[in-house]
Assembly symmetry: D3
Homo-oligomer: 284 residues x 6
Amino acid sequence: MYFYKEDLINMIVPDKPDPVAAKVLQEALGGRFGEMRTLMQFSFQSANFRGKAKQYRDLIRGVFLEELSHVELVQSTINQLLNGSGEDAVGAEGLSGAPLEDAIKDANPHHFIMGAQASLPVDAAGNPWTGAYVYSHGNLISDLLDNVVLESTGVLQKSRIYEMSSNKAFRETLAFLIVRDNAHQNAFAKALETLGVDWAKLFPVPNYDINKYPECRKYVEMGFHNAQFNFRLDETRMGEVFQGETPSRNGGQLQVTPPPQGHPVPDLPGMPNEHSPGLRDLNS
Amino acid sequence: MYFYKEDLINMIVPDKPDPVAAKVLQEALGGRFGEMRTLMQFSFQSANFRGKAKQYRDLIRGVFLEELSHVELVQSTINQLLNGSGEDAVGAEGLSGAPLEDAIKDANPHHFIMGAQASLPVDAAGNPWTGAYVYSHGNLISDLLDNVVLESTGVLQKSRIYEMSSNKAFRETLAFLIVRDNAHQNAFAKALETLGVDWAKLFPVPNYDINKYPECRKYVEMGFHNAQFNFRLDETRMGEVFQGETPSRNGGQLQVTPPPQGHPVPDLPGMPNEHSPGLRDLNS
Amino acid sequence: MYFYKEDLINMIVPDKPDPVAAKVLQEALGGRFGEMRTLMQFSFQSANFRGKAKQYRDLIRGVFLEELSHVELVQSTINQLLNGSGEDAVGAEGLSGAPLEDAIKDANPHHFIMGAQASLPVDAAGNPWTGAYVYSHGNLISDLLDNVVLESTGVLQKSRIYEMSSNKAFRETLAFLIVRDNAHQNAFAKALETLGVDWAKLFPVPNYDINKYPECRKYVEMGFHNAQFNFRLDETRMGEVFQGETPSRNGGQLQVTPPPQGHPVPDLPGMPNEHSPGLRDLNS
Amino acid sequence: MYFYKEDLINMIVPDKPDPVAAKVLQEALGGRFGEMRTLMQFSFQSANFRGKAKQYRDLIRGVFLEELSHVELVQSTINQLLNGSGEDAVGAEGLSGAPLEDAIKDANPHHFIMGAQASLPVDAAGNPWTGAYVYSHGNLISDLLDNVVLESTGVLQKSRIYEMSSNKAFRETLAFLIVRDNAHQNAFAKALETLGVDWAKLFPVPNYDINKYPECRKYVEMGFHNAQFNFRLDETRMGEVFQGETPSRNGGQLQVTPPPQGHPVPDLPGMPNEHSPGLRDLNS
Amino acid sequence: MYFYKEDLINMIVPDKPDPVAAKVLQEALGGRFGEMRTLMQFSFQSANFRGKAKQYRDLIRGVFLEELSHVELVQSTINQLLNGSGEDAVGAEGLSGAPLEDAIKDANPHHFIMGAQASLPVDAAGNPWTGAYVYSHGNLISDLLDNVVLESTGVLQKSRIYEMSSNKAFRETLAFLIVRDNAHQNAFAKALETLGVDWAKLFPVPNYDINKYPECRKYVEMGFHNAQFNFRLDETRMGEVFQGETPSRNGGQLQVTPPPQGHPVPDLPGMPNEHSPGLRDLNS
Amino acid sequence: MYFYKEDLINMIVPDKPDPVAAKVLQEALGGRFGEMRTLMQFSFQSANFRGKAKQYRDLIRGVFLEELSHVELVQSTINQLLNGSGEDAVGAEGLSGAPLEDAIKDANPHHFIMGAQASLPVDAAGNPWTGAYVYSHGNLISDLLDNVVLESTGVLQKSRIYEMSSNKAFRETLAFLIVRDNAHQNAFAKALETLGVDWAKLFPVPNYDINKYPECRKYVEMGFHNAQFNFRLDETRMGEVFQGETPSRNGGQLQVTPPPQGHPVPDLPGMPNEHSPGLRDLNS
């Protein structure tokens, strides 16, 4: 069973609306290598796990639990980027300084038709997420290899998306996720290392320089790239795998740690012109 | 952030393998009205919530948290129904008494090709789950109405699927979910009641007689149809909505309660012929 | 059997081309809550209807028949918005004053590749319509509830799309459909009212002020929001349901009426550069 | 605008339930070359028609109008094939003599989960219909050529489906549609003939012998293969095209005729175990 | 078995980056009537061919072999159009003179997220290619008719896409493919002619004037519109069909010829900011 | 440019029809890890290759060229399994000894509706192949890692499919492909080895014992698991990578070799009842 505390796993940095950034950030939520995929893939792999080597199941499940928070973080960041991006109820421009007729040209129109300027389960090109993305074949090594590809491609895509806007909310969330994807690369690579393979000259993939992303540095200093957060309320065996020297060229010791300190979930104001929430009272 | 304790929200009753039952039960997992849809729909609705009436957001999020356990319960039930349903590594018949060549005829072949006799993110006809199912329009009333349709259709479909096998693991899980879908119908209907509509003569939908499903009775006696389980580790305002007389014809008082006692997650044995987990040691 | 008279159900107001408006208006044609969905959903619900309470089947079929005209109206409006929106055969600018190279940037490129500047069975993000949208479960109450959600979401989306362009053809069609969706909300809500539920404080959804849309007013004055048009050439029992006080807060008496007066179908000129119709003679 | 008279375009011959026949007949409804495709394709082609040669638009629209009745006919035939095909509410066998547990093995399970033993907008393999099937490019000749392929493939598929069951309801509907698809092949081929091409040695496609299908003979004797039914309540110019010698090897004169005599729409009994219609009274 | 020589079937003319042109040119690669469709359709038709008239199989396979080169040509042209279209690693503008933030607005964002500024198996609206496009019904005449529609629509679409940019790489590739599609129209039309139909007044479809596309002229002068390239290393019977008077109004004699002279495959430079190829050495 | 010699890359062993085997073998053709995926993935990766390390591009392209023959081999095997699997034109049983009404129950009905008992671009559950499967991100290491997962999963799935029928044509083709997928695993793993990673204790994935598949042995004895066939008619640099000790635990030296000796493409007889090829003469 799953429990919740209303805390975001990272902060949402305030900045101006940017609907194009919201459109491309959808890839990290509903794309083929986005957080909905990691969440569902690790959910199926841990529920379908066979055999007695449960330290591997615990590791996969441990990452799955963090992905729940990642989904929430990206949803909230997209909401922040969309909030106020179009014309308001009396025809005035939104926070973005652009009327809706202009905003809609380069944006994903579904952000303004289905969502009330809010996140959707789709990718950067507007394609809905599909269960066909999930890899859960039950062979531990092939599952772990696919997880390595998934996390590596996650970083690769995010490093490309990062270039698409200098918006601070956008870049901060991407930087946090790049560091965490790196930790999860380490987790699955380490698991493969315990089973025989030696990654030390190859990883991380892609071969990025962490210094290129200034927002990443503080997370590296906090050791987030070599940490596995533990969201379990009972015992977990994942520390049997996630320990010792990192499999990455970057070096360091792997460590299971408590979750990071939480951050407040931002309030989204009512938006009468979107009929959202559309209540007639309740200080809506 | 999300936390986890390794407890299933209901028991898995032992019975023989039944791959046809596994195939049709996929509807309750990856179908248009299955648990992956409820999970994702309520995730998006709660993250995208606008305005100050947060008791409604807390209610939606509260149901979302339970759906995480429902996904795990249905995955585990499907695994139980598939486990041992085909020929084993030395050509002997599986637990089902049927060789794989026969099992495959009426089953979903992907259960034996992608899964190592394990659950998949697809529906009863093998179509992958799609993000296009999710309804999150940000208008509180339309979101709640769609949630009522979603939960009502969930019950309706499960009452039809229930007839498709007398397997005990299959029926027990369906019965538990029918009662909980009923509670969630009540939750969203009650929320609409606080906003104006009067459902008392219409609900539940469909108009089923709980006595028809013997497995349901104990859950009704435990009050599960009028209970909202609370998985929050901090405060929640959902009790401001989920209280008082049930909106259903069946009567009773709505009540927020602690989660039910957990049940052990079943062990799935290694299956060498499926190369699952495929480890060479580790007592796999 | 179905019969036809070449009359549009509402007028197409002349205005300049607007390919971005055409792109977003596709949602009302081929989107998850667009007119192709209502047409097909009500077609399946009426053909699949079980039992003796045929006044409900006649009501559903009655709305279905009108949706045929709605599909034609939205197709024609999109065509009007696209017509002349790009460069003509000799390289001159189109009616929009924009060369095709510019028009294509923010438009749906399929409007100019598949269509000869013409409507398509897709939504605002270019996703093709899918049969997976159709809800026809055969339980009258769940079917009617889903129809209420469908019509309510139709209005909600159209009220958001309306803000995306001030083009007159675009807004007139949307305004007409908003009023008719309101009437169909009333129809299905009334049907549910006869079966027990009391909507009077909740409807319409969303809670929009009709005065906000100046194009709507004349249709309200004509009583279109409380009218059910009758396209049957034989008897119908839908008046047994669609009668009496409207279920909406807005008040008024429901009434089955003859169809509105028809409007001419606009001529679309040949477009040689699109090879459309591409005939060599016949005054093409 | 569209009008309706409650008449099926052909009779439904009584016979036993046959859910496998229902599954494969879905191809003729929701498949890539089924009636939903013809309906939508001709709807878009006639609404998007450019230029002055409106006799061709009238011809396409004339076929479109008949397709509306074809959709209804196939829906009704599938319903007949499914009706009573599984266990009833008190556990007794259905009309088919088979309990639901057996029926479900070879059937489309969605016929019993989504539908209350009723038709769905999917094909024989359970894939939902998609708007991507529609061809409407606005070039009259390429549109007509695709229509010829569509109608020819319709016949080809139906002649293959015909072999899959000897059920009389199934074969009668297929036979009627084979003859009508032949007439529509003739219609579009004739249109191409007026524009230059000479088909006389090639058609019909496939090169089938009408005597092979005994159910077809009466329709051929009634001239249905060379007739274009006219469902217009106003004038149509389609007779300018659909006239003279048939383009088919089979010979004969093309003729626009009134619609055939209608047939009653069958009543579908309530099915309490499917909660359909699920009403508590109204002689449901 | 298949063999390869590193030669493009036509040249890539140098010009500036143009990501909007790259977006729309995707239709010719991964669209419903693009080169991936022709490749796969003719692959299935030739592998599934029944009966003794193998000259037709050889003809279909002969076109299939050329489509392999067409896929490579369009991939390479899209790569050329994307190459350097955004900001480089140190934040400078790319070759296009536009920073990535601007480029991304009108482009397909997947070209910069999945691809390292490279081609994808999708259409102009970003929809992935699907096997549902393939037509292989095994009836020779219906297969050939669909091939005629496919090649005709290919030309029709390309003639519309041609107008969307004056980029020279873009137009040269389209012009070459227009001429070759015309030859393939001729091939399939001729095959139908040998089976009975007379196309001479109808073809080509659409009825385009080759002089409109200056890039086409040299290919016509080289006879490419009436040539069938032979990529077989053993004997082929396709010359039994592809010979004699062209079925097209344009006239000329059909002829099987050797493949055209090859053109060098362009080198794509490494793109460090896209982590492509991302090697640390090897003169990457 | 691509050239062809009419030779299958392996033999088709004669055996009885088996439409269930044909259904599940579709996974190896049109599934997420089937031959259409490998073909298209390596096509895009080689066309989109960046940088100077062309020995890797040549290796990827070399595998791509072989996949063209694999697609043809699986198409031909499926055709063999379907050929004669249902009732013939005069109502007699087919080669399978089963009438069509029975064959259709467990088969993919599209094999008999779209195909004339012939292969289709779909997977074992009937889902069409989609371009969304293709991975071509342009980062050499992530592309190679995904290729390793793709080939490993290919073997894993084939080892599971192998158990589903003892049909000899079915098992021979699977055995050949298992050995070749192993060689391609080696190819991509070796490429990663030259870039730093050490696989020697991990591979092959899954950890299968080649002796389990008697059909595999002769291919292993011929060295096919350590061979890279060369289909280039010009120079290739792939031997710079594909050489030296195999990365697999199984040991051996990697070697670039000429293609294997070809095998005749089987003739498929005409099938009049399927209207295939449907010619009236030409000894069809």
